[in-house]
Symmetry: C2
Subunit: 490 residues, 2 copies
Amino acid sequence: MIKHKITPQAENFSQWYQDIVLQAQLADYTPVKGCMVILPNGYAIWEKIQKELDQRIKATGVQNAYFPTLIPESFLSKEAEHVKGFAPQCAIVTHVGNQVLEDKLVVRPTSETLIHYLFSQWIHSYRDLPYLINQWVNVVRWEMKTRPFLRSNEFLWQEGHTCHVDANEAQYRAQMMLKLYQKFMQEILAIPVFSGIKSETEKFAGAIQTYTIEALMQDKKALQLGTSHYFGNRFAKAFKIQYLSQENELHWVYQTSWGVSTRMIGGVIMAHSDDRGLVLPPRLAFLHVVIVPIFSGNKELILKVAQNLKDCIQQEAKGVDFWRDIQIKIDQDESKKTGWKFYQYELLGVPIRIEIGPKELELQQVYVVRRDILNQKKIVKWDNLAQKVLEELENMQHALFEKAHAFKKANTMEIHTWEEFKMHSKNGMGVLIAPWCQKKECEAWINEKTKFTIRCLPVDEEMQLIKKPGKKCLCGDQGKIIQAIFARNY
Amino acid sequence: MIKHKITPQAENFSQWYQDIVLQAQLADYTPVKGCMVILPNGYAIWEKIQKELDQRIKATGVQNAYFPTLIPESFLSKEAEHVKGFAPQCAIVTHVGNQVLEDKLVVRPTSETLIHYLFSQWIHSYRDLPYLINQWVNVVRWEMKTRPFLRSNEFLWQEGHTCHVDANEAQYRAQMMLKLYQKFMQEILAIPVFSGIKSETEKFAGAIQTYTIEALMQDKKALQLGTSHYFGNRFAKAFKIQYLSQENELHWVYQTSWGVSTRMIGGVIMAHSDDRGLVLPPRLAFLHVVIVPIFSGNKELILKVAQNLKDCIQQEAKGVDFWRDIQIKIDQDESKKTGWKFYQYELLGVPIRIEIGPKELELQQVYVVRRDILNQKKIVKWDNLAQKVLEELENMQHALFEKAHAFKKANTMEIHTWEEFKMHSKNGMGVLIAPWCQKKECEAWINEKTKFTIRCLPVDEEMQLIKKPGKKCLCGDQGKIIQAIFARNY
């Protein structure tokens, strides 16, 4: 049963988000604290994400595997920074049945430690490198405050782990995955992003460098959508992962890890949806087209035509990337009113609605309505419908990106002084690009005064921090000034 | 690094199995007691299984979802039989970080309890039924003795859960899934199976009826490959899952659950492989064809032809079910000897090997060798190769099934007396079909005397137990005699 009342976005963004998640049946709460159930409508989006992203990851030479969900607690402690970051969030298994375990196990919060231990068993020679592995799994990280998809005690993700002969190759991989994620998010999620390097304060526990992708949501807060970590040989030394080089010398491997999660679903909702409900990029839609017959007059004939049109669209879609498995539904339910149906499919984010009634039958045409521009009803002749539908799906995919891109642009500002920063962080600007001195204390001070945090440090084409010699930091300092991207964040 | 020594099957079946698992790099041991890592070669088989089975399950109207991995311990106790069966095997989370949890959580051994609780929140009316849901997840069940794929403290599976308006519809679903599994195993795993109902002793904790699929391995022991449970309204009563009927009356729902797991990979290995290594049904192969160029003479030309042949095969495969994504490798490595390569790809279970050297170049032909009939090397002209390869993949798929079928037939015997049973259970017969009185004590007595257990009680076309009035049980009793299938088991 779907209830019909979404809190307007402008009134309460957080409630609006929750209303969409629950009413579009993407996820639901459970009696397990902070853990959600991902419902079929939400899981179908995850399956689309998995299918598309998995192909792209495999195309870079990475293979999938599956590692145990339970990790000896002692493994976590082998890298000092890592354990400090994750230990407080770990769910700990102490018993099996009523037997006490000798060695406690943690439910994986991430799998570096166990996988790195196994790397040390598997990797012996330069011939074994690069070692490129990925897994699609659930992880558990206990949080104080949780929200479906955005921050949940359990979530689904992919985590890739790689070993390389040297620092350059590992850095190249970490950066390659950042770019791969970025392209995926733009092409499939229709979300334009910021990317760069995390500040020391925000980076992954145990990493030398964390590359990150951040996106601006409609409430002008930034959401971290994916990260890629460069570990250097830190974990290699902790787990003794060494290889014999071609010259017969022992070397440490250099490593990376990288992941994206079901959090992206939350990002898609907050980037595109509106007060009528979910707006989904067509490439992520679980149902692309709904045909709503208006039942007055010759019902049987209308249904027959609807079926023909459905077949035509599916035929046309067969050879076309992304739309090969196009899902089309004819809603024959006579117990529901047409207006109710429209509302329903808008709530569910179905990209295209086709209406056909007695008059359309006569004129051999239909009405076509796109979810992102509901007020632009179009008349389309039957003959052109299949082609038009595919065109509109493509158009909508691009239109959502363009809209989000314009929003991002309108809410991003480069500024130069602390006065400007204070003013624009208060008057509703989302993203502020400003000079920064790289000091932790300065970062903390800006956060305290404005609630803005450093989302990332942008990089140039050579993936180097953008230096601003001669500029002054917001705090007034003048040494080692670089560019930083500030925003409030999830 | 792959070592080259597989213990012969006849010498030590269990060691033979382990050698294949490790040397074909399907799985490896980990420092987590009884938990394996599924390596890329093994995981690729699981991905093939998932893809094919997921389609078939969805085609019956089931949708995928994801439920939390941690379940409140108290939920498990709500169904008395269920908790008795699973509690001793459950990994229990008592802490998060150093905070003690008020309510202990178990890592899901199966998800009936949590999912049924949620069903009680979601299902209100007959309009909500049938409710058909499935998830692909990891589960943890602690075992005394473990073996990769066959019995592991953690494994991957799918678990389907359904609710229905009445007993008939639920029974129909439980049986439908049994048949779906059976067809899948025959068509994709190339494994002929027995199916039927579990005896009271062997059924799922909490079920009224457990339908099961069992297959005979090459050591003549039976492996349970999948189960489908009919719960009646037992769990519905424990979790208060009721609906308002069309007549506005409150009714309990009737339920089922059903699952298959990574154990099937173990079954595939033990059903088909040989002393040279893995033999994989082509529909499960991660690499279908390897082209091995014999490098003497015009190396460049040989490689060019190999590439052309590869392209041709891929072109031919494009429109063909199962082979659309055919994987073909040209092994150009000059540091390895040809014989070593042959051995390697036999170990890995690559269905088809193509050899091409200077003489074949001259005669515009190649040698084609099929993994299951290594001694039948065939000469094939280049022009016919693409077609021939697809034909041989199909042939091999069917040949493996036929071979396993013949093995099953040769090792199954219908018998009538205790004397016969004793004799044939000792002299190496795998499966004995015998009359049984349905008494637990008799089942235990037969097991004690022969190590044979009841694998299932066969059913007729109406899914009814096969009655044998007038026959005598093995124990001498004469009442309520039915047919039972006995075997030693994993």
